[in-house]
Point group: C2
């Protein structure tokens, strides 16, 4: 038996499943303080058996360098009570024999889409999520990328569309990618929530401009075989195709990879990507 925990900013999902990432049984509840939230996960798992492994897909920022003394702890987060909290400690105390694996929620989603989702069989995949913020999970040569922290992809700077006068809404950077293309940025720019803008609205061509530039940076730095773009703001019809078209224009023949018409993909696992990734995290 293996277990997975998806620890989100607002809700937590706990599941037991198998090595293919199939969820056999799951529970969802609101994320509260660290002790209450993690103890409830442990009790639920323990009532179902003795897991050989537990994978945890968590919100961040978390310290993921294995030799770091703060490994598994949350850094500065606006979420009350969680700053400095250890995610692994209460779990390894309850299940001292289980193999523990921890990663970010977007890295877990990238792994899930690469193993059993939109990029099944691919070892170099980037998963981008666009919602309240913009994040990326990166699988490269079969390993999840962290560096000294983990990708903060949303805050890279991309060129402005030449006729675009919107200042951007990032409190740090104004017009970084997240400041120009996250859900709240779209809402501020058009005075309308993204999910109410029709697929024919000019918002989406502009959205594709910014995302194509962000994807180009990923292509130039980590050279993925495909890029999966999910999240609430990526669900409008035709957006993936628009991004692909703009990306090919930007590449101008230099990156042959991006000309594969399946280079930019919609996710296949939807909201289950995180918990599926958690179930298979321990296999890396």
């Amino acid at each position: 038996m293996r277990a997975g925990i998806e620890l989100g900013g607002t809700k937590t999902v706990v599941a037991i499943g198998n090595e293919r990432g199939d969820v056999l049984e799951e529970i969802r509840y609101p994320t509260s303080d660290p002790a209450t939230t993690l103890n409830r996960a442990c009790e639920w798992i323990a009532a179902r058996g003795d897991p050989k492994s537990i994978g945890i897909a968590a919100f961040g920022p978390i310290v993921l360098q294995k030799n770091h003394e703060q490994y598994g702890r949350l850094l500065a987060t606006p979420k009350k009570n969680w700053q400095g909290a250890s995610i692994c400690e209460p779990i390894s105390r309850t299940f001292p024999k289980a193999k523990l694996a921890l990663d970010t929620d977007v890295n877990a989603a990238a792994l899930a889409e690469a193993r059993v989702g939109a990029g099944a069989g691919v070892d170099d995949l980037v998963y981008i999520t666009i919602g309240t913020g913009i994040g990326a999970g990166i699988l490269t040569e079969g390993r999840l990328l962290h560096g000294t922290l983990h990708a903060e992809f949303g805050h890279l700077k991309v060129p402005r569309e030449p006729n675009d006068a919107f200042a951007g809404i990032c409190p740090f950077h104004g017009d970084c990618l997240e400041g120009m293309a996250s859900g709240p940025a779209i809402a501020a720019r058009w005075n309308e929530s993204a999910d109410r803008l029709p697929a024919t609205h000019p918002a989406w061509e502009l959205q594709a401009w910014y995302l194509a530039h962000g994807v180009l940076s990923l292509v130039a730095i980590v050279a993925p075989a495909c890029v999966v773009i999910g999240g609430g703001v990526a669900q409008v019809e035709g957006l993936h195709q628009k991004i692909q078209t703009q990306l090919c224009r930007l590449s101008a023949g230099y990156f042959p990879l991006v000309e594969d018409k399946n280079f930019i993909r919609a996710p296949m696992l939807g909201q289950q990507a995180g918990i599926i990734g958690a179930l298979i995290l321990c296999d890396l």
Copy 2:
């Protein structure tokens, strides 16, 4: 005994050395056709003993995915005779018992600077070289990054400095990073070779603008502990400090890492980085 080969577009360096990357003896000669160039390396090494390992730092693009049928072969290159050539084959034929390791010249330089150079002891380091082109080698959690090919960092798009009207010189992209900030780009912009522009010339503040944006993309995607910037165009006094200052302004407090005053560093190994990296490549 271990051997290293740095296969450059114009010259080849072959060395024997030790596990610290010390070069004990070396030979340099012009790179000609594949058979002549690689056989000469093999003969020189064989005359000095039987190497346990041979590391090769090569110009690219080369296929580096170990399970790829074209592994170790050069892809499209303007260099006559080299397109499709296998770099590993003639060497493994001569030394069937030696452990072979192959990577790009910039990745080898990144490894060398991270082990015995400007970032000694660091496991997350990016090495950028600025000369005729702009390239990057990336070490992340102690491993060299490839993805499906390897970083083509020079061709990412960065925002233009608002008052800059220069069109850029990249034949593919015009104003990509390489098109705006490589040695030939500087020469075209100022009608003067980069090495003749004094440290006080406005060229360098503009250069720092473009490089700081390129580095920010790396920070947002691979989160290195430090960035080493070398190559002929990075040797002017004060450039590293200018890049660091602009990078901190761009980060605006979001990426605490870049505020370390040693985040942007000059290389320590100079032109020896590639061959030193070749000597220690097999330890990864």
